[in-house]
Amino acid sequence: MRKKYLVITAALSLSLTFAGCSDSNSEEANQGNVVKVYNWGDYIDEDVIAQFEEETGIDVIYDTFSTNEEMYAKIASDPSLYDVICPSDYMIQKMIENNLLSEINWDNVPNIENIDSLMMDRVSDFDPGNKYTVPYTYGTVGILYNTSMVDEEITSWDVLWDETYKNNIIMQDSVRDAFAVALKKLGYSLNSTNEHELEQAKDLLHEQYPLVKAYAIDEVRDKMINGAAALGVIYSGEYLYCSEENPDLAYVVPEEGSNLWIDGWVITSGSKNKENAEKWLDFLARPEIALKNFEYITYSTPNVAAQEMIDEEYLEDPAVFPDEEIINRCEIFQYLGQEMEDLYYEMWKLVK
């Protein structure tokens, strides 16, 4: 009996020491000058972090995630885990609805002036009144095609249903992206919740099935570079890299419209270092810094002052920097609620 007692006390005291350790750690973190950043993997030029630390004396605790959903689970479990995060549009909407974000005091982020007003306008689609979001990157979804294999000029989603490209088409293997293509071709909203419209889209996608060589996500890029297919549905952010590897590749946003996505920085509702978080936002919106990040990530930056410093070759490429007309024909994904997500998913299963 005594032995057992000893073991238990030993275990308890051990865990208490560790608990003590971690307590002092977190206290230190609160008192110290830090900002806890949660970003996509490989989504910033590392020099930028070092420069921010040097300039402000704030320690950056930097962490990365790979999907919006993974990030959401962490923040929902404890909103004070991180101070600033970088979700995508629909996820920002969901987080606002669930009170996980805190309003930005714009007086502390004067560099917001550098951000394209057109973009701020689009941000208000999911962040009404522009209270929470500093846009970081954006892009469209479109068709990447190999000009050595496609003779005509592509302007419409119709080409993805063209028999001449049988077994030469790569579709996005994600529910919302695939349905967006079909819904837009039919002239509907890509946030449609109308069952009849979705049914039509499903039939259309099913009709396309025999023409498709592969459904893919990440591999679209490599397959197109290798010339394994003539047409592929892809995010514009990948285009710059693809065209550098294979100059025959061109990108177009079909005239029926497409999806516009925006990743933006927001502050969590549980942030304990809000002022530092705002300094981080302001720092990233600086023209030189935004330029540096653009050169690293190669996704379009909404920072107008940074755009002025970018090579004209890129600026004039509508695939990298879509003009107002293209942006206006694109729609941002909205979070449609669990029930609709399930319906989309059910229909997607019937397609394949």
Partner: protein, 259 residues
Amino acid sequence: MKFKRFFSQIYLTLIFIFLYAPIAVLIVFSFNSGKGSRFDGFSLRWYEELFQSEMILDALWNTLFIAVTSALIATIIGLISCIGISALKGKPKAVYMALNNIPMLNSELVTGLSLMLVFAAFGLTAGYPTILIAHITFNIPYVILSIMPRLRQTNKSTYEAAIDLGASPTYAFYKVVLPELMPGIFSGFLLAFTMSLDDFIITYFTRGAGINTLSTLIYSEVRKGIKPTINALSTIMFVSVLLLLFFINRPKKATNEIL
């Protein structure tokens, strides 16, 4: 007969190609001057970038530190447990060995999740200590499993003889038992080290803000495509392990020859 040998040769070759071709591809692509899945020419670009990326080096340091520390602590705890278990007999011994095996067969998901819950219940904030405790926890059974057979082989009489000749129990342990157990302890340590090095699931559940190990860092880069810097890092790790293996196996051969 010749026919049969020919086929067994081919079979063996195929198996080794199957095992090593992916690694060979990875090594070749770590020297690629381009980014894609096409070889554009030889360059050390990714090795240069690797050593300039603080994020990767930080993760590497975390991984190695956690692997060495957790393996070391697990080896010590495991060794003590082994001596304790070996002193038992019959049913209790079998029960303890079975209890030791369960965590190894158990899904890592369950281990990771339950550890996370325990840490939360004790109010431990996820961070360095939690990863370390978690790694020590799942390493201990492997250490016990590799020391136990050694301990069974040792001759109890040598220990008793040492005591008879006037050694104190501790002295006899260090001078007689420990040296005999050394190979088992060493292989237990190595096993624990590699288990910790590779672990993703448990680390994922128990890590805190800002602490990445290599596996969690690589995982988070999936969205933008994994960069060849990771190939470069993997190559370095593979070569290091290979060298380590040569190093370990060489002296053994020498002693065998003497015997």
